[in-house]
């Protein structure tokens, strides 16, 4: 297996982009990434595209060849592959692209993620999101993803004494980070009181405990490490990747204050890379809700189980603290174009590892972790990235 590097990154603005179509967003992200790598379409061997639900959200299935076509790659009959694992679609697209280059099947691939969430309205979007949990045992009875995460939060509070203030401190931190990210959807810091007083969605989680449902797209270009310097002065190496699954329905899991898919995916990624959680300087973890980030930083081994709330509250996960978590603003403030989120996380990691993160630059940025989950955690994927 060859070593693989990320040689180009590009993404659109995230937000409620009424005037943009999914194909339009996909093309913009791809072209920006190709521009960043200084590469032409003629050099691309394949496209891997992460997307959750275009069939329901914009009435278009089969979107990988669509975006390849509108990016000018149909002329050369470039193969395009869509990967779906709900909100982990982008992360899985990255891993499949990584495997394709590492194995020598392809040399240069584009890994994209794109989602257009806002065309159908909030209620329909939430209903579609709920279909990523177990439809027959959860969604059909009215469970939304928000209510399922609320159960995890309530149980975490019960088992470990996690407080609403600790949950809120995740949002405060991520909005602060987002305020320093020109690409973030939300660029205003928020106060703890504002999070606590926000309208309740599913107790104990209020409006500000949730990432927004955004439109947007992100893309990275992968190449074998041995030719990466031809395209980039600062190629970033993919050190490893680990994926795992879990029971779909919460009621089948051994615990709902832990995501076993995250635990196992993380262990695999650390093992393959030969490093430990303490070696990681920054991590983009899947903070679709505040409790998600708290569980993630525990399950990835950065902190002991039950301590996630406390360490967030005391600042241990803030920028340039013990470990910098979600320096981009996370899904919470950078925005959450669902199936694109895993690719967007890679873009933040590359930006940090290149030393190009400006005001939010992590001072010692050598190893970064990406953590993307699907649904309520029945898919998880972890990548480790490092400077060459």
């Amino acid at each position: 297996m060859r070593e693989v590097a990320i040689i180009g990154i590009g993404e659109t603005k995230f937000g409620e982009l009424w005037e943009r179509s999914l194909r339009d967003l996909g093309i913009e992200a791809g072209f920006k990434a190709m521009g960043d790598a200084g590469i032409s379409g003629n050099e691309i061997d394949a496209i891997f595209l992460g997307n959750m639900s275009a069939g329901q959200l914009i009435d278009q299935e089969h979107i990988a060849p669509l975006i390849a076509d509108y990016s000018g790659m149909a002329e050369k009959n470039i193969p395009a592959i869509r990967i779906e694992a709900a909100s982990a679609s982008g992360g899985l697209a990255l891993s499949q692209g990584y495997m394709a280059v590492a194995s020598g099947v392809h040399d240069i691939v584009v890994v994209g993620g794109a989602e257009k969430m806002t065309d159908v309205g909030d209620d329909a979007a939430n209903e579609i999101m709920a279909k990523t949990a177990d439809q027959e045992w959860e969604a059909v009875f009215g469970a939304t993803l928000g209510s399922l995460y609320a159960m995890m939060a309530r149980r975490h509070m019960n088992e470990f004494g996690t407080t609403k203030e600790q949950l809120a401190s995740v949002a405060v931190k991520n909005h602060l980070n987002g305020s320093m990210n020109p690409h973030a959807q939300f660029r205003s810091p928020i106060k703890l009181e504002a999070v606590l007083r926000a309208p309740m969605v599913a107790s104990p989680l209020g409006t500000f405990d949730f990432a927004p449902l955004s439109d947007g797209a992100a893309a990275v270009i992968l190449a074998p490490l041995d030719i990466a310097h031809k395209y980039s002065d600062t190629p970033i190496k993919i050190l490893s990747c680990g994926q795992a699954g879990d029971y779909m329905a919460l009621h089948d899991r051994k615990s709902i204050t832990r995501m076993d898919a995250t635990v196992v995916a993380g262990k695999k990624a650390f093992k393959y890379a030969g490093i430990q959680p303490k070696d990681v300087n920054l991590a983009e973890v899947h903070d679709c809700t505040t409790i998600s980030e708290i569980m993630a930083i525990e399950d990835l081994g950065f902190f002991k189980k039950g301590q996630g709330g406390k360490v967030t509250e005391d600042g241990s996960t803030a920028l340039n603290s013990k470990i910098s978590i979600n320096t981009s603003g996370g899904l919470k403030a950078k925005g959450y174009p669902v199936g694109a989120s895993g690719v967007s996380q890679a873009i933040e990691a590359v930006t940090q590892l290149r030393g190009e993160a400006g005001q939010r630059q992590v001072s010692k940025a050598e190893i970064a972790l990406l953590h993307n989950i699907g649904g309520t955690g029945s898919s998880a994927i972890v990548h480790l990235l490092g400077r060459c």
Copy 2:
């Protein structure tokens, strides 16, 4: 890259299976394949699942971990990946699984395909199918996949003198083959007159020019060739795989009597395997319509462009003729659970190459080709399989 073999196969009945759920079908196919390989769930490293539109058809996204879960693999946190390329989803799942084993990322994987088409009714199913063409430029104006294929047929008739009788002869042949396949949805031979007199769907294509929309699932188990004999007396080798894309909308293509994605995917597969079309004994080609099969056997290089209708009519593609095309009955008679079709094709090829096809056995079955396309041909994937 390691050599890879198929060591187990399994599929459900195809048809209008009102009493069965998608998860139920997926599990049955997977368990049958594992039973065929004599393998336990503990030996499975990953699941690759092809599916077109479960989000719209059964209100369930994220179905790869769902089927992994209900197959008992959540306990071990087995990674599960859904691949979507419309009707080529199964073929692409096979290629991704193949890449995973060939590269050494995984040792033993299950590749499944599953689709539940009938729960939403025919009109909705056709509307969903149309979303695999270009929604903004084709489907939104009322074009169904059937009408788009009808345009290809009409043009093929105009350019090459292909007749309605020649189109019909594809259906007659495939129903005859299906009559010899205990796993086929339609087991009655049909007469040419019946095809010609069938109600018109989109001129020149009538009811019997189309494959049915079926429920069903199929699964194969892949392993490195060097350990394949541990599990199977007759492992079947995957010789190569080629994938290609094309413009989404028909109006953008250079020709609509040729599918360039098929041409390019086929050439890649033949090149990688170091063989030629004349070396192939049998092929399962994507006959979602009769014109599709005619174009496929031309585009794959088995016959000259424009001759597909004529050679079908004169019997050159019948069982044990020059080349045996769609011995299973094809999508037309075996059935068409859309995203599962590519995996189902692999099952027929393995059955033939093992010499277990009974009444429809190809006498010299050494090399088989699988051809799966998505939408109206903007994705195509070709696999070549051979006896060890």
